[in-house]
């Protein structure tokens, strides 16, 4: 079916476009964006008065849990959650069982995703074999199999020389290295940010330095090797300062921030709510403020969710025993809307969409995040002012593990199109 998205505010950061217009989808592609209402009766018309029409959102940090952990999430449920959250392109992380460290597994997940979800799924492959931090993967073969980057995510390479060699090799094959920065010797045993709250709760802490030490190390190694480095989920004020410094030196460095680190602090752990347990942990108010400023200033390049679904029985455990991570796909847009509102709307609509679509696509060189005529019609229709209450029982994700249950968020996804097909509609 061909569509006419009539009279919406068309926002396309890739063309710096922000105007009220009509967007036509034909044959699965963006056919035209025009100020004159087309009169073609074959088009299915969707009135977008007061709504935004934007390129589909892009999340470069998602855990889909396949293979091996389908009790937490599947390609199908994770894909459906993405589409409901306005994401048309997502990148899945390799910390599965077994880890995505071979071309066969990378191919298998890509092929299965094409069959099992309309959402576009790209694979971030492991950086070392078995994510054990010792032996390099076959980056050449992984790239040929379709991996778009390499990362050991939550099992970051501890040995600096292994990391240096991995970066050297990835640079040669044009694969960005994506890193979760955590020095495990500093964070071992910790389950929340080390500070006043952890001291009161008697919980072992994860110090800010466990992140910043590795940010500095990885940035220095990227500088030396010329590798393209992307830092995941910044959580500390000093981390933002380090990124600012290394960018000023010309290091090929980008970074992301998660909505929860912009909205919450370690005080959310009071009462031992395991839905406030994630890695990196929620930090202090001054960290939260620095991340907000970093995002507004442009030191932070994009927003990613680190969508990490877990089964309810896993999050029922005691705080030290419960796994790290929260779901984020279905709340991300509304969280950023709430954050932007709290901050006094520092983000223009165009900048907001850029941070959640065009910028992450560009970081990992994905063909997404644009409304260029002729491009696949991955489009999202958003109501930026809609206020809604988070009810995890309505999530498409298998995960219910969100700290935002009962929160009023601002901004709701109305329709999601992938390749011109309407794959999600808030109406049902």
């Amino acid at each position: 079916m061909d569509y006419l998205l009539a009279n919406g505010r068309v926002l396309d950061p890739s063309q710096n476009r922000d105007e009220v217009a009509h967007l036509v989808i034909r044959g699965g592609r963006i056919a035209e964006i025009t100020p004159i209402l087309p009169s073609d009766p074959s088009l299915k018309r969707i009135d977008c008065d007061g709504l935004w029409v934007a390129p589909g959102l892009v999340d470069i940090h998602v855990h889909l849990r396949e293979p091996g952990q389908s009790y937490k999430e599947t390609l199908q449920t994770g894909g459906a959650a993405a589409l409901a959250g306005g994401f048309t392109t997502i990148c899945c992380m390799p910390n599965t069982e077994p880890p995505l460290d071979s071309p066969t597994l990378v191919r298998e997940i890509r092929q299965r995703a094409e069959r099992e979800t309309p959402c576009r799924v790209y694979v971030v492959a492991a950086l070392t074999q078995g994510m054990a931090g010792e032996q390099l993967c076959d980056y050449h073969a992984l790239k040929q199999a379709g991996a778009i980057a390499c990362s050991d995510d939550a099992f970051p390479v501890q040995n600096a020389e292994v990391m240096r060699r991995a970066m050297l090799a990835c640079a040669a094959y044009g694969l960005p290295v994506v890193t979760h920065c955590e020095d495990k010797s500093l964070s071992a045993g910790g389950s929340m940010h080390r500070g006043v709250v952890s001291s009161l709760l008697g919980l072992q802490g994860i110090p800010a330095s466990s992140e910043t030490v590795q940010i500095a190390r990885n940035a220095l190694l990227a500088w030396e090797t010329g590798c393209q480095l992307h830092l995941q989920h910044l959580s500390t004020a000093v981390g933002v300062a380090l990124v600012r410094f290394f960018k000023a030196q010309g290091v090929r460095l980008t970074c992301e921030v998660c909505p929860h680190h912009l909205l919450l602090t370690d005080s959310a752990c009071e009462g031992y709510d395991t839905n406030a347990k994630m890695n990196p942990p929620l930090r202090t108010e001054s960290d939260r403020r620095a991340l907000s400023e970093g995002l507004i200033e442009g030191v932070i390049d994009c927003i990613a969710t680190d969508h990490a679904p877990h089964a309810p029985f896993e999050k029922e455990r005691t705080f030290p025993d419960a796994p790290f991570g929260i779901v984020g796909l279905e709340t991300a847009f509304g969280c950023i809307g709430l954050w932007n509102h709290q901050q006094g709307t520092p983000l223009s609509p165009l900048e907001w969409i850029r941070l959640m679509s065009t910028a992450p696509a560009q970081i990992l060189n994905l063909t997404a995040g644009t409304l260029q005529v002729g491009a696949p019609a991955d489009v999202v229709v958003l109501d930026p002012h809609a206020r809604w209450i988070v009810n995890p029982d309505e999530f498409r994700s298998k995960g219910r593990n969100t700290p935002f249950r009962g929160w009023e968020l601002i901004g709701k996804v109305r329709y999601t199109f992938v390749g011109g097909e309407c794959v999600y509609s808030a109406a049902g």
């Binding site: 009161l200 008697g202 005691t318």
Partner: protein
Amino acid sequence: MPHLLSAHDLPLAPMLERIRQYREGTTPRQGRGTIALLFYEPSTRTRGAFEQACVMLGYHPLVLTPSISSIVKGESLADTVRTLCAQGVRAIVIRHPHAGAAHTASRFSTVPILNAGDGAHEHPTQALLDIYTLWSHRGYPNPHTRWLEGVKVAIVGDVKHSRVARSNAILLTQAGAEVWLCAPPTLLPDAPLPGVQQTHSIEQALQNAHVVMALRLQTERMESGFLPSLNAYRRDYQITEARLQVAHPDCVVMHPGPIQRGVEIEDAVADGSRSLILTQVQVGLTVRAVCLEYALEN
């Protein structure tokens, strides 16, 4: 549900008065039913006192430890609590190595949860016992006033990992005491706790102190690299008669037990005239009875 998870949950003054009544011969009203004592960690004092307290109040104590329950088969804390509730227990007393375990249990419980020690978080009934010991030692001043105003209490030892220190800091400051936490630098809390002083200097902590509480030092702290050696700890932090010369002349010494003689405290002090250690043990039963009664009555 009147869970007793933290020292903050204790109504201090009425509980002190109730403990005193029972200590002076008033017989508590008798209840009926079973109270589960869910002990994931070994315990002599606390478990024994709770068990006797159940009997004193007419309840049957159902003691569950990992080795004799389905915990060993991998049953989760949540499911164990759900099962006990379904079996109709009246309350659950829980001791667990993880901070926050009592909070976790309370989320799945339909009956009151009493925290008998959760990791490095809190041990509220121990703190109540300690402060009752001080209250009786000081001649039962009006508990509705800040009756520890002007009293300096030094808590010395592995404060970082101590649930006793955290609960005591809460109750002692409520009663107006000036609380000092003293430990080697690596065993102080990562961030200063609100309302209390923190120092690694034992001289500063003991200076003019009216009360000194010694904490047990776990030998695993040496193995895990927090301390250079037991001797170094002894030399710098052991509570000795010589060290107590700078304290207030009437200074009393306490210890939650179990004591490691010759490590955190020297024999002469533990067994000397300043020591309230045996009094602490003596009031343990009554304190637990009053806590159970409070949770079950409200």
